[in-house]
């Protein structure tokens, strides 16, 4: 379902996965954590097995050297590592960390106990074990944090996109102009328009996961009310939605932007205006189809089409997130009419974890 990430996309994605150890503050934090680990190891010694302070000193020295070498390696290879896909990045870093632990352990063995006598046997598996567990825990933590960040980012992007689609500047400024005009002569109407506008914007910002068709149609009516103040008799609306379909659930602001498109691209360019019709029908097994139809201007003014495509793409993406491939947006164009059909599955089960 996810588009295959591009090269640069991977780097940007993995960025949060690998802390920047070239940064002094991150390095200081690492040293602190390493020291804490040394203290824990020291404290875990059975009482009476020797001088704890000297044990702390040696284990600190040992752990800090591993941590610093790890940090130096990660800092120098960072740019290269970030180009790897997240999975390979994880494996490479993990293996690298263990390798450093093994090498430092062996080196320490040579320095402290050059002839391999005494109790240094079994120290390698022990160190490797500790290192393996600790780095696994840390990496798991970084991974989860990273996943959270990604999800947050995706959600924010979606919100911003919806907001931008919602606040079509043309609509906003024209509405404000209409209200400015109504305030003197028809204050009641002006007030109503402001309330409608407020509700449209609030619904954009709140973004519940699902609303009913009845609720969405209420937004559509508010939108159409504002536009009819501006366009007057040029805008006519026919809406035929069977009562039993009003409980249908759908992602919010899927229908309203389609109606807005119909007004903007269909009604506004025609001097005498026309009719936007909204219909819904349910066919057992085939799901529900909501269609929005508007007349087409005989001399299509270009330049308005890009905006239309953007809004449609945005809705398609959101349908995909909610329904997978079970929902579709179908466009039906003739010389005189333009119809958008929104096809929704009967059982609209949100796909888990795909918000």
């Amino acid at each position: 379902m996810q588009p295959s990430p591009r090269h640069s996309g991977i780097a940007a994605q993995a960025f949060g996965l690998l802390p920047n150890l070239c940064d002094n503050r991150v390095l200081l934090l690492l040293i602190l954590i390493a020291e804490l680990l040394a203290m824990v190891l020291t404290l875990s010694q059975r009482p009476g097995t020797g001088n704890l302070w000297s044990y702390l000193a040696t284990s600190s020295f040992f752990i800090q050297s591993i941590a610093l070498i790890d940090a130096a390696l990660l800092c120098y290879t960072r740019r290269w590592l970030l180009r790897l896909p997240p999975l390979y990045l994880g494996i490479t870093v993990y293996a690298g960390l263990q390798l450093v632990t093994v090498l430092v352990t062996l080196l320490q063995g040579l320095v402290v106990d050059p002839f391999g006598s005494g109790n240094s046997a079994g120290i390698l598996p022990r160190n490797l074990g500790i290192s393996a567990i600790i780095s696994a825990v840390v990496m798991r933590y970084l991974y989860i944090r990273h996943q959270n960040e990604l999800r947050q980012q995706a959600e924010n992007n979606a919100k911003i996109q919806v907001l931008q689609a919602r606040i079509r500047p043309h609509f906003l400024f024209n509405s404000l102009n209409t209200i400015a005009s109504l305030i003197h002569r028809q204050p009641q109407q002006a007030e109503e328009a402001i309330l409608d506008l407020a509700e449209l914007f609030r619904s954009t910002l709140s973004q519940p996961e699902k609303i009913t068709l009845a609720q969405e149609m209420e937004l559509v009516q508010k939108y159409l009310h504002i536009e009819s103040l501006r366009l007057g008799p040029r805008l006519k609306v026919e809406s035929r939605i069977p009562r039993e379909l009003m409980d249908l659930e759908l992602p919010p602001l899927v229908l309203q932007p389609l109606v807005e498109n119909a007004v903007y691209h269909g009604i506004e360019p025609i001097p005498e205006g026309g009719t936007v019709s909204i219909e819904a029908a349910n066919q057992a097994g085939a799901g529900t189809v909501i269609s929005i139809r508007n007349p087409r201007s005989s001399s299509p003014r270009s330049g308005r089409n890009t905006g239309n495509r953007m809004a449609l793409d945005n809705i398609r993406q959101r349908l995909l997130l909610h329904y997978g491939k079970q929902a579709a947006l179908i466009i039906d164009e003739t010389v005189t009419e333009y119809t958008v059909k929104l096809q929704l599955p009967d059982i609209s089960v949100p796909r888990a974890g795909m918000v």
Binding site: P169, H170, L172, F173, N174, L176, N177, T178, A180, S181, L182, H184, R185, L229, R230, L231, G232, E268, P269, I270, P271, S297, S299, R301, S302, G303
Partner: protein, 246 residues
């Protein structure tokens, strides 16, 4: 000072009327809700200033302004827009007046004062600039001056343009008119709908019904709704034949 307000939205016009009522020295002579109506009202009222919405259905504000600029003593035009017209860039560079909706009274006053200084010399190059841009759309109407009035001729009513001496004449379903555009410019602008058949003639592609062989083995095009035929020069014959076949 007489002012004509052109906007397709009634509330927008109402508001401008109200604002202008608060400013001394200006009188709203009339209102129009689209380009064609604007030309008609303009002919009848001859206002000194036109407040012109850019985005209108049919003939938009820019095209209407261009037509008005063709008058002998064109009005000062102040454009109004809610948002997002790339034409505004051209206005900015030429310091031509435009107002953003909702319009502030002070800004409107400023623009009205400034408009008395600006005139054709300032606006014509801007409109020409906009019309010359590759992404610009062809006019939907040609505006001609008839007995001191501007008259709009839908491009779809035009049979052909023909260059004669210094002028270009335009033959439409209702008659003939003289225009100031050059044949080369017209050919560029209406490349989709008109075809050069001769050094001196551009013919509406939709109006061509067939070819007629003449006595001296040359050809002429026959036109729908007209008994007239137009000579085809040898150079253009192949292209016209291809077109008729398709």
């Amino acid at each position: 000072m007489k002012i004509l307000i052109v906007d397709d939205e009634q509330p927008a016009r109402e508001r401008l009327v109200r604002l202008l009522g608060e400013i001394k020295g200006y009188e709203v002579a009339g209102e129009a809700s689209n380009g064609a109506e604007a030309i008609e009202r303009y002919n009848a009222l001859k206002p000194e200033i036109v407040l012109m919405d850019i985005r209108m259905p049919g003939i938009d504000g820019l095209e209407t302004a261009r037509h008005m600029m063709g008058d002998e003593t064109p009005p000062a035009i102040i454009f109004t827009t809610a948002y997002g017209d790339h034409a505004l860039e051209a206005f900015d560079t030429h310091a031509v007046g435009y107002l953003l909706k909702p319009v502030r009274r002070e800004k409107l006053e400023e623009a009205l004062l400034a408009s008395q200084r600006s005139n054709r010399s300032q606006l014509t190059p801007v409109l020409q600039d906009i019309a010359d841009k590759p992404e610009a759309e062809a006019r939907t109407h040609i505006c001609v001056r008839m007995r001191g009035n501007l008259q709009l001729i839908p491009v779809s009513d035009i049979l052909y343009f023909r260059a004669e001496d210094k002028y270009v004449t335009l033959q439409h379903t209702e008659g003939t008119a003289l225009i100031e555009d050059s044949l080369v410019k017209l050919e560029e602008e209406f490349a989709d709908s008109f075809l050069r058949v001769h050094r001196n003639a551009l013919v509406s592609i939709n109006r061509i019904t067939g070819l007629k062989r003449l006595a001296d083995n040359t050809f002429a095009v026959m036109l729908k709704g007209s008994d007239e035929t137009l000579d085809i020069s040898r150079r253009h014959l192949a292209a016209i034949r291809r077109l008729i076949k398709s």
